[in-house]
């Protein structure tokens, strides 16, 4: 089992250059995530949550402040940090099993060991029997499970999830949330989930980080001291949900007051993101 890592984010700021000046995406963000913790990040569109994940995974550089994993500054991508995007991003010309094996391309394992590890992960995400299916033959939920297995197969210390269930229907989403929680408990690794869905954030997270936009910063961190598995309909759950939604509403109404026309973030210009209106 992989050693879970401690992630420290200290005074992190990030901005994109524009024609006239700069656009601040993240401003002075400080957050510590303990090994094995599950942290949910919620916030409205444009609050920089996805940028935060891209910085942690190493797809974005040029930032001020520090992002440290086990005390070491993050530079570029690494197999210690896995990510699941909103779109599955599987290679369409490879089968499910071959896609998962991509996560082991540079692992020092014999082909036999790789096959074994891939089989274990197919079982972990419950896809026995679909090893030889191509992505176009899988449903959205199944493809996303393959993507989760691909991210986990290399035994990362941290798994980042960028709205992984955002494009799925409600039933599949609820099912995969339970699956993800089971995987988190089984693997014992650190997970950071970015989502629009407050209920999802509370259901899964040890704490919920509420962010507010322009520039992206932490509004409040709400601890979720409920035992797993959580009852979505219980009174304690509802109370926390109310708390988070209040923070959320506060930041949303503030952002709605701003003029709707603003320069396009290069974050969204790089690849299309389907986001939910709040």
């Amino acid at each position: 089992m992989a050693q879970a890592g401690t992630l420290e984010i200290e005074h992190l700021s990030k901005s994109y250059p524009l024609k006239d000046g700069e656009l601040a995406v993240l401003a002075d963000l400080t957050l510590t995530i303990k090994p094995g913790e599950f942290v949910s990040i919620v916030g409205s569109s444009g609050c920089g949550k996805s940028t935060l994940l891209r910085l942690i995974v190493g797809l974005e550089e040029d930032y001020q402040g520090q992002v440290l994993l086990d005390g070491e500054r993050i530079v570029g991508t690494s197999l210690q940090r896995g990510i699941v995007f909103q779109e599955h991003r599987l290679f369409p010309w490879l089968t499910a099993a071959e896609n998962i094996e991509l996560g082991l391309l540079n692992a020092e394992l014999t082909p036999g060991q790789k096959r074994l590890v891939v089989r274990e992960h197919i079982a972990l995400v419950g896809l026995e029997g679909f090893e030889k299916s191509y992505p176009h033959q899988l449903s959205g939920g199944m493809a996303q499970r393959v993507a989760i297995a691909r991210a986990l197969v290399g035994k990362p210390e941290i798994l980042l999830l960028d709205e992984p269930f955002g494009a799925l229907d409600a039933l599949t989403r609820a099912y995969l949330q339970e699956e993800l929680q089971r995987i988190w408990q089984a693997e014992g690794i650190t997970m950071i989930l970015v989502t629009h869905d407050v209920e999802e954030a509370i259901y899964l997270g040890d704490k919920v980080v509420v962010m507010e936009p322009r520039p992206g910063r932490i509004r409040r961190i709400v601890p979720v001291a409920l035992a797993h598995p959580r009852e979505r309909t219980g009174p304690a759950f509802a109370e926390i949900k109310q708390l988070v939604l209040q923070e959320f509403a506060g930041s949303s109404s503030a952002s709605l007051a701003e003029p709707p026309l603003r320069p396009q973030l290069s974050e969204t210009a790089q690849f299309p993101q389907w986001q939910f209106a709040i």
Binding site: F91, W93, L105, Y134
Partner: protein, 267 residues
């Protein structure tokens, strides 16, 4: 599904025969034109005579010799053009330096009409097989380069990021990501190269008249005013082109089965 009548085909001609209606009517028209002597021009030869010529050409082995010569040139030129085009296109697609240095020259050369090369090629290589092969490998080269380049440059950004996260090295980058992602476009290039090479085979035989070939058979027919021989040549050329396209489509469908949606429906 529950309602069988919904799918019932009321058309009098079965589906797979419908494409043959127009050719059959044209043949009928031809036959009628000869039968009722709508024209007495020697350009109008009876159907039967074309058939007889076809049989005679096949029996005497002339067809085999001509077709073999044409196809051999086609294949060699196609192979050179596709091989060279693939290598060039990959280099152009992968290396910005190569693109900056060679790209502009290449894009200038590709503007030159293919047939404008003929005078140069015939001076360099004579009128023999070498010049013809050079000409049709050039015909196959350009679509191959362009499609390979295009395919490599349009690898989806999402997959590029996925590969970065998975820490692909240079080799894995090329063989596990770029080439598979570009393969639909590359195969389109191969398909086009095949079509162009076959067109150029005929073009070369027409413009560099010497030696044997199916194009030369047609030239002979024209010069001797044997319309039946010309028409026979047209039919053979059409059949070869049709077979090549069919073959290319089969190969493409097989290799690109992972795309799923590209498989054409039969109904």
């Amino acid at each position: 599904m529950a309602n069988g009548k919904f799918r019932r085909d009321k058309h009098p001609v079965p589906h797979f025969l419908r494409g043959w209606i127009l050719p059959a009517l044209l043949l009928l028209l031809w036959w009628l034109a000869v039968k009722f002597q709508w024209s007495t021009s020697p350009l109008l030869v009876p159907l039967g005579k074309v058939w007889d010529t076809s049989v005679a050409q096949t029996r005497s082995g002339e067809l085999r010799i001509a077709l073999e010569a044409s196809l051999r040139r086609d294949l060699i030129g196609f192979a050179i053009g596709v091989g060279g085009g693939l290598a060039f296109g990959i280099a152009l697609g992968l290396s910005r330096l190569f693109e900056r240095m060679i790209g502009p020259t290449f894009h200038t050369f590709k503007q030159i009409s293919l047939f404008a090369w003929i005078p140069l090629l015939s001076v360099w290589f004579g009128l023999g097989d070498t010049a013809k092969v050079a000409f049709l490998s050039l015909a196959a080269f350009f679509p191959m380069v362009l499609n390979t380049f295009e395919g490599i440059r349009s690898v989806p950004g999402e997959l590029i990021e996925a590969a970065r996260v998975l820490k692909f090295n240079r080799r894995q980058w090329i063989f596990k990501l770029v080439l598979p992602a570009a393969s639909p476009s590359i195969l389109t290039g191969v398909h086009l190269a095949m079509v162009y090479a076959w067109l150029a085979t005929l073009g070369a035989e027409y413009l560099l008249v010497s030696g044997k070939g199916i194009g030369n058979t047609m030239i002979d027919g024209r010069e001797l005013f044997l319309m039946d021989l010309v028409l026979f040549g047209v039919i053979v050329v059409g059949l070869v082109g049709f077979s090549l396209t069919w073959l290319a489509a089969r190969v493409e469908r097989r290799l690109l089965a992972w795309r799923g949606h590209s498989v054409t429906l039969r109904s």
